[in-house]
């Protein structure tokens, strides 16, 4: 067996505690422990790093680019899933105008 290929591990790096782990690249390694060592050498030589993950690339199951448009399109009628889908402040203002309602004096 050729000895320069090895499986690929995708590398995720967390810059500081509380941040998300972000994909930064990949390394080739014979096992996860070595992948972690190589990831440290490759992606944490300088700059901040609080934590590293290595994940076998073969374990990543991804969506197809061809389908992305269809799959992830946000249909217009789904605005109710987002804060901008609501006009509640506007409704309150109109109600207050119609009923001559004003706010009580701040104490």
């Amino acid at each position: 067996m050729a000895d320069t290929q090895w499986p690929v591990y995708e590398v995720f790096l967390q810059e500081k505690r509380g941040d998300p782990h972000v994909h930064v690249g990949a390394v080739h390694a014979p096992d996860p422990e070595m992948a972690l060592i190589l990831a440290k050498e490759q992606f944490a030589r300088r700059g901040r790093c609080a934590s590293l993950w290595v994940v076998p690339a073969a374990a990543i199951y991804a969506s197809q680019a061809e389908e992305a448009e269809e799959l992830f399109a946000s249909a217009l009628e789904k605005e109710y899933r987002e804060p901008r889908g609501f006009r509640v402040t506007e409704r309150v203002r109109r109600w207050m105008e119609r009923h001559g309602q004003s706010l009580p004096e701040a104490e």
Binding site: D3, T4, G25, P30, P32, E33, R46, Q64
Partner: protein, 343 residues
């Protein structure tokens, strides 16, 4: 969804086989691909792309990776002879970066369907091209300083352009690499200035290294636009966003003053600043020499390849030991400490 394996890593492929070239379906996909590039979007590995785009990128990225790996050698030679401990530590860090850059680039090329092993084999077999500049010798410590300023400087001019390119994985690798290269230029400039502002003997040594490295630095950008067969296609698909000659001009404008300011000279009788255009006039490198060195007949081609093969052989026991350890662990108990991310 379909994924097939090339020697141990999954390569995403479009669900349908690429349509035969020239048909209406191909034309439609090509138009969509070109429209995406025109909008400034990146092309990702799972996107449809013309075969020529894929092949051009494999050619460029693998050559770039090989250049980083071979580029470790001219300077690596000086690690045991660095003039101070501080310079030695700096040089070790720089050469390690170059090895890391090579690996990042091999990985970027792999997303296009070639394996790292194939690329490494091609390099070791002497079939792969790499930048001509690394086939020139480094007889003095001043050559290390000249490489740090001029060759890394030229490389950054080129790589900042490549970071704007259309292929996502290559552009992302370039961003990371440029960040580290800025340290390379700074340390090179520091070593350069130390000699250029030193004793007469040190200045003389620096001058001689500039004389050796000026034209190789100009060669780093590749052949003249007149002779670059790939340029039109590379520009069309934004693999490159500037031509070799444009980049060469940018480099001279930026770096010639840095050398001249220190009272050193540049070995070009035609070099002069044109206040009207704001650019420097300069002589092109000797293109006959350029092609000769690319074909393998440079001062150090054989030495570089021999060193690379020796390093590969001397590292074999390490690779074997790692593989044996991995095989053992698969059968036995794996160290639980690192096994999970704590999720």
């Amino acid at each position: 969804m379909i994924a097939y394996r090339i020697r141990g890593h999954p390569v995403p492929v479009p669900e349908q086989a690429p349509p035969p070239q020239g048909g209406p379906e191909y034309e439609a996909r090509l138009a969509e691909f070109e429209a995406r590039i025109a909008r400034g979007e990146k092309i990702e590995p799972t996107d449809w792309m013309p075969e020529e785009y894929r092949q051009q990128l494999i050619r460029m990225i693998s050559q770039h990776a090989h250049s980083e790996i071979v580029g470790m050698l001219p300077e690596g030679k000086w690690i045991p002879h660095a003039p101070t401990l501080r310079r030695k530590l700096i040089l070790i860090a720089k050469v390690q970066d170059e090895g890391g850059h090579g690996q990042l680039l091999y990985r970027a090329a792999e997303t296009l369907g070639i394996s790292r092993e194939e690329m490494i084999e091609a390099l070791l077999a002497g079939k792969a091209k790499y930048s001509v500049v690394f086939n020139y010798p480094t007889p003095t410590w001043a050559d290390v300083a000249a490489i740090g300023l001029l060759i890394d400087g030229a490389a950054v001019v080129n790589q900042l352009m490549l970071a704007q390119g259309s292929y996502g994985p290559y552009a992302r690798a370039m961003k990371r690499i440029c960040y580290e290269e800025s340290f390379h230029i700074k340390q090179g400039y520091d070593a350069f200035v130390a000699l250029a502002t030193g004793t007469p003997a040190q200045r003389q040594m620096m001058q001689e290294a500039v004389n050796r490295w000026w034209y190789p630095a100009l060669m780093l950008f590749g052949p003249s636009d007149r002779d670059s067969v790939h340029t039109p296609m590379l520009l069309r698909w934004r693999i490159k966003t500037k031509t070799n000659d444009q980049l060469r001009q940018e480099f001279v404008d930026q770096y010639a003053p840095m050398v001249l300011r220190l009272g050193l000279t540049i070995p070009d009788p035609n070099l002069r600043y044109d206040p009207e255009t704001g650019h420097w006039h300069f002589s092109e490198p000797d293109w006959e020499e350029f092609w000769r060195v690319i074909r393998g007949d440079g001062p150090c081609n054989a030495e570089r390849m021999a060193a690379r093969r020796r390093a590969h052989e001397e590292g074999r026991w390490v690779r074997e030991a790692l593989a044996a350890k991995a095989a053992q662990q698969t059968n036995g108990e794996r160290n639980g400490r690192h096994a999970v991310a704590g999720l």
